[in-house]
């Protein structure tokens, strides 16, 4: 009879990356879509938000902080920004 072993030292499902595109969207959509993505995400996932609305680039990190989460990086290329958030 074959021996069945289950490796429990590794997480069943490693963190996935959820990407949302809010380019061209204006207030309050980038903020709201970010919140919706963070609610859908599981702890350990990374949520990446790409957008163009200038104020949201400042406000999304504020919201992330208020939610007790962490911004991993903010990058900018032309008028397009990318924010990576650790859920």
């Amino acid at each position: 009879m074959p021996e069945i072993t289950v490796d429990v030292s590794r997480p069943v499902c490693p963190g996935v990356e959820i990407r949302i595109d809010v380019c061209g969207q204006t207030c309050p959509v980038p903020l709201v879509e970010t919140r919706k993505a963070l609610r859908r995400a599981a702890p350990g996932d990374i949520v990446t938000v790409v957008g163009t609305h200038p104020a949201s680039k400042e406000e999304i990190p504020m919201a992330v902080k208020a939610l007790g989460l962490q911004v991993l990086s903010i990058e900018e290329e032309g008028n397009r920004w990318t924010i990576r958030i650790q859920r």
């Binding site: 061209g24 969207q25 204006t26 207030c27 309050p28 959509v29 903020l31 709201v32 970010t34 919140r35 919706k36 609610r39 406000e59 504020m62 919201a63 208020a66 939610l67 007790g68």
Partner: protein, 142 residues
């Protein structure tokens, strides 16, 4: 009703399109930033909770028999502003609470069946508002 999460409570008294926008943008914004939020629909605001009435409000200024509203809506579309219906659905999805004013229903002869009941969490009076507002860090009258 003690709650550790910060709360925003908004009275929406106006049924004007631009003011309904203000209420829903502030409400969804508060939810997105980790707060709880309630909107208390009263007087002309409650009219907007009737079936197919959300987008029907006039502009609070320069309505000009609908011409002003048409122009503003055209510019909003160009700027990619979300529709009121989408903001309302987002508000509900993020856990926003909608309270309908019972006295307004009585005065204006509005029945529950006239309203979009599936969106309404509570039918209340001033006490419902005060109970929410006393635990709120943000409260607005629009």
């Amino acid at each position: 009703m003690e709650s550790k999460t910060e709360r925003a409570t908004i009275i929406l008294h106006s049924g004007d399109m631009d003011k309904v926008y203000s209420a829903l943008i502030v409400g969804t914004g508060a939810l997105a930033m980790g707060m709880e939020a309630s909107i208390y629909f009263t007087f002309w605001g409650l009219e907007r909770l009737k079936k197919s009435a959300l987008e029907k409000g006039p502009l609070s200024r320069m309505h000009m028999f609908g011409l002003g509203k048409w122009m503003v809506q055209r510019r909003m579309k160009k700027a990619n502003v979300a529709a009121l219906e989408r903001l309302l659905q987002d508000f509900k999805e993020l856990g926003g609470k909608i309270i309908a004013c019972e006295m307004t229903m009585e005065i204006m002869g509005i029945k529950k069946s006239d309203l979009r009941e599936e969106l309404i969490d509570q039918y209340g009076a001033v006490g419902a508002y005060i109970q929410e507002a006393r635990n709120s860090t943000v409260t607005l009258f629009i």
